[in-house]
């Protein structure tokens, strides 16, 4: 009669009545698996150290500052908080931020969709160049991005003379801010869409073509619905960055209070004027936006995973 091997500490119990040979073999195999599992897994100590470090880092560098923003914002009471948000210059900063987002996000949706479709569905010369260009705003420092536009459109810039002759102001005016923001947030939508489009492949679109659909009908009825979660996710990320962008906008904006100050710029200005609670009040709005973005992101990831899992059960 064969005796089963002793139960390893964490295994599910498969080793109850091991009399027959197959069961014994299975137990031996499980025991071997158990040993190899423990061989590749870290010891509990290492696991807990790593978790503590990650949690500690998140708490110190992320959670505490975030809570502090709200604490500082309410330092002088809720009335002061509310009034500072209603200050005309803060209010125009909020309006400008919203305006910039409302222009640059849809622009980037169009660019992103077009770029993603071209990259995912076609082979063409210059494709890798396009992919590199899309990632360019990520690798360039935002300040450099802003300077780029100053060099192009500033008074001494490349187009400066022409713009001045036609009385068009780009730098130190709203158009410059929109341009800089659009540039900096360009990759978000495209990078979300490219892998999604690549994984769905083009067979569904080809099927639509055989059924008589034009290119546009195919795009609208087949392509777009298949990428909708990736698209919304990309829009949310793009929007969060568009509203929070500081470096590039700081260079091109001119910091004209009430006219070319976006929320991040106004926050900096208020803080430099020693009005910390007002600065934090405005910052708390951005922090709320960040939290909302995170919540939406989590929700969408969950939805996308659900859709993906369903589709996988083919």
């Amino acid at each position: 009669m064969a005796t089963p091997p002793p139960d390893p500490p964490h295994s599910d119990s498969l080793t109850s009545k091991a009399e027959s040979a197959p069961t014994l073999q299975r137990n031996r195999r499980d025991s071997a698996n158990e040993k190899s599992r423990r061989g590749t897994e870290e010891s509990p100590l290492v696991k807990w150290v790593l978790i503590s470090v990650a949690m500690g880092f998140s708490i110190i560098f992320l959670f505490v500052p975030l809570v502090n923003v709200f604490a500082q914002a309410l330092a002088k009471g809720f009335a002061y908080y509310w009034n500072s948000l209603g200050h005309p210059d803060s209010w125009s900063a909020i309006r400008l931020t919203l305006l910039v987002a409302v222009i640059s996000v849809p622009l980037n949706v169009v660019f992103g969709l077009a770029a993603a479709w071209a990259i995912a569905k076609f082979e063409f010369r210059g494709k890798s160049l396009l992919i590199t260009l899309i990632d360019l705003p990520f690798s360039v420092s935002p300040v450099v991005a802003g300077l780029m536009f100053v060099v192009l459109f500033g008074l001494q810039g490349f187009f400066g003379g022409w713009l001045r002759d036609h009385d068009i102001k780009i730098i130190f005016a709203v158009p410059g801010i929109v341009l800089a923001t659009t540039f900096v947030t360009f990759p978000f939508v495209a990078r979300e869409l490219i892998p999604v489009m690549q994984s769905t492949g083009s067979e569904q679109e080809q099927a639509a073509l055989t059924l008589g659909a034009s290119g546009w009908q195919t795009f609208w009825h087949v392509t777009l619905p298949s990428v909708k979660w990736g698209l919304v996710y990309g829009i949310i990320l793009c929007n969060a960055r568009a509203m929070g962008e500081f470096g590039a906008v700081s260079v091109v904006s001119g910091h004209i209070t009430g006219l070319t100050d976006t929320m991040p710029l106004r926050i900096e200005k208020l803080y430099n004027e020693y009005n910390a609670p007002a600065a934090f009040a405005l910052a708390s709005l951005l922090a709320l936006l960040a939290l909302l973005t995170l919540a939406l992101k989590t929700f969408l990831e969950w939805k996308q995973k659900r859709q993906h899992d369903r589709a996988q059960n083919h």
Binding site: A207, A208, S214, Q217, R310, A311
Partner: protein, 175 residues
């Protein structure tokens, strides 16, 4: 002559997938292209459908030269090897897609779909999504979708692909 290929060749990069193929198919005929995998059968089908353009040679459908005619205008039905059902649409919407494009009236679409659902034994499934169907059901939806707009040519790519070898031979014999 319903379909005719004359000296059709297709090369992808430097690789020749189809090399100087000619054949003709009469109206009402049922033809199977048999051959080893990688032999170019799918490429020939796609060239007839218009999803690929021949590198050289001509494709004729109903006596008309098709080389410059787009996929949409060829009025062929194509059933893909992996069915390529529209994942975000119900069975009903999948089958009705071609009819909606051709701007059929709602009533006509309803009648045609009902007819096809009966023909393929898909009644009761019209509100399901592709991921809620079995493989065989998906195949039937794919065929129904291709047949719905009453095409003059029906092309099926690897229709026995999901079937094991012996059954496949039996299917081919029964076909």
């Amino acid at each position: 002559m319903s379909i005719e290929l004359r000296n059709v060749s297709k090369a992808f990069g430097g690789v020749s997938a189809v090399n100087n193929v000619s054949f003709s198919i009469q109206d009402g005929e049922l033809i199977a292209l048999l051959g080893p995998s990688g032999g170019g059968k799918t490429t020939v089908l796609r060239m007839i459908a218009g999803l690929e353009m021949p590198s050289s040679g001509d494709v004729f459908i109903r006596g008309q030269r098709m080389n410059d005619i787009s996929v949409q205008q060829r009025n062929i039905g194509f059933v893909f090897q992996n069915y390529a059902l529209f994942k975000n649409m119900t069975v009903f919407k999948n089958i009705a897609f071609g009819l909606k494009i051709k701007k059929w009236k709602r009533q006509e679409i309803q009648e045609r779909i009902t007819e096809l659902l009966e023909l393929f034994g898909l009644q009761g499934l019209e509100n399901r999504y592709p991921h809620q169907l079995s493989g065989g059901q998906r195949q039937r939806v794919a065929i129904a979708r291709a047949l719905a707009p009453k095409p003059s040519v029906l092309l099926l790519d690897e229709p026995f692909g999901a079937v094991d070898a012996r059954s496949g031979r039996n299917c081919a014999n029964g076909w």
